[in-house]
Structure formats: C-alpha cells, structure tokens
C-alpha cells in the first residue's frame, strides 16, 4: 500500500495567470505562476476558490494538466453551460488576473515515472486532463514504460490536446493513442466511432499477462462502464485506479 505522506497544512495561495490557451470551443487551459508551489505528482488536482465582492465564494476542484517537471502549473477547464466557476475561468479570466487555489491534492490517482509497468489510460471527455499530466510526465522523465491511451470524445472538435498527442505518438514508439468519437466522425475518419465496448477494450488494452497500471477518468457513468469492461476482460481490479468527474459543480 502506498505510504500516506505527512504534509504541511493545505493553504490557499494566489497565482497569476500567465497564459490562456484555447484547447477546444469549450475548453481552455490556464497556465499559472505560483511562487510558493511545492511541486506535484501527475494525477493530482487543485481546489480553486472564487470570491465575489460581497464575500460570496464558490469552490471547485480541477486536475493539474501539466507535468511535475513543467515550470508552471496548468489547469485545463471545460466550460459547463450552467456552471458557476467554469464560465468564469473559461470566458472571464484574463492574463494577469490572480486566481486563488490550494494544492496539490490527491494521492490515490497518481502515476509516478518510476512505475515501469505498461500504462493504460482511459479517458472520457475532460477526464483526459489528469491523464495528460501523466503522459507529459512520462515524456519529461524519459520513462521506458509503454503507454496506451484510449480517449473517448463526442466529436473531433472536442478532442483536447489533439495535436500534442499526435506529435507524441509520431515521436515516441512507446506511446499509442486510440481515439473514439461517439457522436460525429469527420469524413475519412479511421479511428473508432462509437461508445467504448468490450471489443474496443479488447483491441486497445494491454494483454492481461502484462499486469498493467490502469487509470480511468471521466464522468461517473463512463468510468463505471470502462472499468467494468476491463475487469470483465480479465484485468485484476487492483490494477485499476479511477477518478470520477461530476457533470455538476463546474
């Protein structure tokens, strides 16, 4: 069992938005300067707290998208139509604005480059964010572990980090990415075009004899379906770590 780390008190700190990157029509990344950042592990998240002038506060958790090796902390946020915090972070925030956050938080849904097992990452929608931190960490650390990502999105326009993933795959034989687009596929599409199912998992996942490390992240229904399929295919549940995102809050 992983050792629980004794940590300092979790305190709120102010970061400054250094860069904004629009990833898809509804998703942006915020690259944040945090002078007192203690460092983080791939898969961890932060809590972001917004305060209005009359003192009203709203708080949400967002996964860290950047590798531990990166000089700044990047959050990737999907703007939810009826959200309270996400429409502020994706739409109102400008470069130079300050954002209050605390972290890093989490110890269960974490991958370290020292883990040499084949790595299987399964992402539904914005569930790609903490898995991207793992992929970026894998690249920055020069990890020899082979990686397979199965990434489900609604359409090609919704695929976050599309170009970066394509470049990683082109440049590194150890990284393979299988996309599935569940609602619409562009003409000439040669990836999957349906919701994940047993056949897709059987084709993409590592054979069970490889004893992989598995991380599944996305909306609750997606995570439960995906991990159920993996266990049905013969995976040991102990290999699989999951993180459910709510569609609420945001």
């Amino acid at each position: 069992m992983a050792r629980a780390a004794v940590l300092g008190r979790l305190t709120w700190q102010l970061g400054e938005v250094a860069e904004l990157i629009q990833e898809t029509p509804r998703v942006s990344s915020l690259v944040i300067d945090l002078p007192d950042w203690p460092g983080h592990l791939a898969g961890q998240h932060v809590d972001v707290r917004l305060t209005a002038e009359d003192g009203y506060q709203a708080q949400r958790s967002y996964s860290i998208a950047s590798a531990p090796e990166a000089p700044r902390v990047t959050l990737t946020v999907e703007r939810l139509e009826d959200g309270e915090v996400s429409p502020y972070l994706v739409g109102e925030v400008r470069v130079g604005d300050k954002v209050e956050l605390r972290g890093p938080i989490g110890g269960y849904f974490v991958w370290r480059a020292g883990d040499a097992r084949p790595l299987l990452l399964v992402a539904g929608g914005s569930g790609i964010v903490p898995l991207m931190a793992m992929i970026r960490h894998h690249a920055a650390a020069g990890s020899a572990a082979p990686v397979r990502l199965l990434y489900s999105s609604r359409s090609i326009e919704d695929v976050i980090y599309k170009d970066e993933l394509a470049q990683l795959v082109a440049g590194d034989k150890r990284v393979a990415v299988a996309h599935t687009l569940t609602r619409m596929q562009p003409s000439g599409w040669d990836g999957y075009g349906r919701r994940i199912d047993g056949e897709m998992v059987g084709e993409v996942a590592w054979p069970k004899k490889d004893g992989p490390a598995v991380f599944v992240c996305g909306p609750t229904a997606f995570v439960e379906t995906a991990s159920g399929l993996l266990v049905e295919s013969g995976y040991d549940p102990a290999w699989i770590r999951t993180e459910r995102f709510g569609a609420t809050g945001g």
Binding site: M1, A2, V6, D47, S61, Y108, R244, F245
Partner: protein
Amino acid sequence: MQQSDLKLDGNAIAGLLREIFTMEMTNAESTCAGCGTVHAVGAVDVYLNAPGAVVRCPACEQVLMRIVHGGGRYWIDLTGTRCLEFRGDPG
C-alpha cells in the same frame, strides 16, 4: 446530466479530508462496518451534492462517513467505517 453523475469518489473529498486529517487520506483503506469489504478511500462512493459529504461503501451502499463543514465547525461521523488503515512515517 445523468443521475449517476452525482456519484463521485473519494478523490473528490481529498481536500476536505486534508483539512481534518494530517495525512493524505485517499490511499487509506477503509473497512465497511456493514459488510466488511475494504476499499481505498479514493475508490469509495461520495455524494457531495448535499448539506454535507456522504461517503458510501461501493459494495453495500451503507454510509461509511458523513462530514459536515459549516459555521466554522466540522462534524464527522465515522461509525460506518470499522477502521481506516494507512501508513505513516516510519519511526
């Protein structure tokens, strides 16, 4: 939004647990006082859309923990958790 999306997991209360415990708790293993199964706190069912956090056993759905934070106070009920096991620092 699907109804099931209201159910999260222990990762969603990692920050709240850090406010209460001195250690990162999502790797702690909890034994359900109801059915006896053991799960990592990161893998238990968590309902946050409520006046407090309600943590339930994924196997039997019984309440493992209730946590309320308000008015400057915390109330935590662990009676549904027979025990929590985690490693600390050696010596």
